[in-house]
């Protein structure tokens, strides 16, 4: 087992990690907005259902949710939602991650939206703006600025949470590494993985700092 060979194996796993990370964000960021609208809905039953759902998702371990998404449809209802091939496992993990993160994001969005003073809406209204115009032209950018820091925290947590996909045997970096440890009895790749994550998080931190700077031209 050469260093290069191990690097290749780990990179392959890291590729899956990155893919899971990127796809989760791609779906969870907009879905979270939808969930936050539901949790602020004037239609009380929808609001209640959404709030209970978000409470459950945020109140239980992501690992449990991974198991539930992957095993429960088949075992309880005999529906084969996700195959047990790598593809199916990956999809199941993605679904669990998207649901989980959409709920976390929705709470951040809700906090951000509710923090915008009513006067901003009213100023838009008296200027004849439509509800849509007020949201996209007035509110949204202020919300983005407010939520950037908490979102960046969640995103960085997501990088590390992807390793949980291992529990349903998604071939992410830890899963592949475990094979190495088991079959070859070498331990150092474990620390090597740490470097992968540190680099990834480092890049994200720089990106978010840049965005924060970009948005610092005004104060709320």
């Amino acid at each position: 087992m050469t260093f290069a060979r191990i690097t290749m194996i780990l990179l392959e796993g890291f590729g899956q990690t990155c893919l899971l990370f990127a796809l989760t964000l791609l779906f969870a960021l907009p879905l979270g907005l939808l969930v936050s609208f539901c949790s602020m809905s004037k239609f009380k039953p929808l609001q209640l259902i959404t709030k209970v759902f978000v409470w459950i998702i945020r109140g239980t371990p992501l690992m449990l949710q991974l198991f539930v998404v992957f095993y429960v449809p088949g075992m309880l209802f005999n529906i084969q939602l996700f195959g047990s091939d790598p593809q199916g496992r990956f999809t199941a993990a993605l679904v669990a991650f998207v649901i989980n993160y959409a709920c976390y994001f929705s709470e951040i969005y809700r906090g951000g939206i509710e923090a915008i003073p009513r006067g901003q809406y009213e100023a838009g209204q008296v200027l004849g703006m439509t509800k849509t115009e007020i949201f996209f032209r007035v509110i949204l950018m202020q919300v983005v600025k407010r939520i950037l820091a908490p979102i960046s925290n969640e995103v960085i947590t997501l990088v590390k949470d992807t390793s949980l996909a291992r529990v349903i045997m998604v071939a992410e970096i830890f899963y592949l590494n475990e094979n190495l440890i088991m079959s070859k009895g070498i331990i150092w790749p474990l620390f090597y993985i740490g470097v992968f994550f540190l680099l990834f998080v480092g890049v994200l931190t720089i990106l978010f700092n840049y965005l924060e700077k970009k948005l610092s031209y005004y104060q709320i």
Partner: protein, 268 residues
């Protein structure tokens, strides 16, 4: 025929009957000040005119034409259109923080101009051309409005870099951008440090000279006396007294008005 006529305006919040049948009219180019102790319903009155609150009862006529009748129901789009007859300057400005002073004026102006010209219905290329044309026009207009409140030099400043007085002047320019028939002010200087009220009051005086029709809720008594054609004293949701400033200030008839002025003098 009065320019603005309000008939029997009523508004309750639950059990709290805040406006108890306001009847009121004013002429084009008139400036009316509304004074009274807090909780009397002055803000609610202005908010009803701008349809931020839905009146329970009453009618609003402009130039003899019925604009709004609480007994009828209107769509959001209709309310939006009716709202443009009135402008509102808030006590705490409510400028959009992410836009410069200039953009604060320009953006609402553009949005309404695009809507009026129905640009969305045009094919892409025509739409772009028309939008560009409208925007060029509006930029000139927005700059004109800023110049009018003496803030041309601050066009590119964000609200967080402006003083309270400057913010309020931008807010006034923004409210004027859509050429409302009647401009309302809700305590425009109450959120300002005393040394900054002067610049805002000067702008309002200048608007009077330009012939704007304005309703000003204020606690600046000497300003109200000098700038208004008519003063309204409002208490507990009714117009307690209304008349020329000399009459209301120097010779108030209603006991409530007298009590208000004597408590006001005590404070000073």
């Amino acid at each position: 025929m009065a320019y603005l006529e309000i008939l029997n305006l009523n508004k309750s919040f639950g059990e709290n009957h805040v406006l108890k049948g306001i009847d009121f009219s004013m002429e084009r180019g008139e400036v009316v000040s509304v004074i009274g102790s807090s909780g009397g319903g002055k803000t609610t009155f202005l908010r009803c005119l701008n349809f931020l609150e839905k009146p329970d009862e009453g009618q609003i006529l402009i130039d003899g034409e019925l604009l709004y009748d609480a007994a009828l129901s209107y769509s959001d789009a209709e309310i939006r259109e009716k709202r443009l007859s009135f402008g509102l300057v808030f006590q705490s400005f409510h400028l959009f923080p992410q836009y410069t002073a200039f953009e604060n004026i320009l953006i609402p102006l553009n949005l309404r101009a695009f809507e009026r010209a129905a640009v969305d219905k045009l094919p892409f290329r025509q739409r772009r051309a028309l939008k560009a044309e409208i925007m060029a026009e509006n930029k000139v207009k927005a700059m004109e409005l800023l110049r009018n409140v003496g803030l041309e030099a601050k066009a590119d400043a964000y609200p967080c870099h402006l003083s309270g007085g400057q913010c309020q002047r931008v807010a006034i320019a923004r409210a004027l951008a859509l050429s409302p028939a009647i401009l309302c002010f809700d305590e425009p200087t109450s959120a300002l440090d005393p040394e900054l009220t002067g610049e805002v009051l000067r702008v309002i005086k200048q608007l009077k000279q330009e012939g704007r029709t304005m309703i000003i809720v204020t606690h600046e008594m000497s300003f109200a006396r000098h700038v208004s054609d008519k003063v309204i004293f409002m208490a507990d949701g009714v117009i307690e007294e209304m008349g020329a400033p000399e009459d209301v200030f120097d010779n108030p008839q209603s006991p409530k008005t007298q009590a208000f002025f004597s408590s006001f003098e005590e404070e000073i």
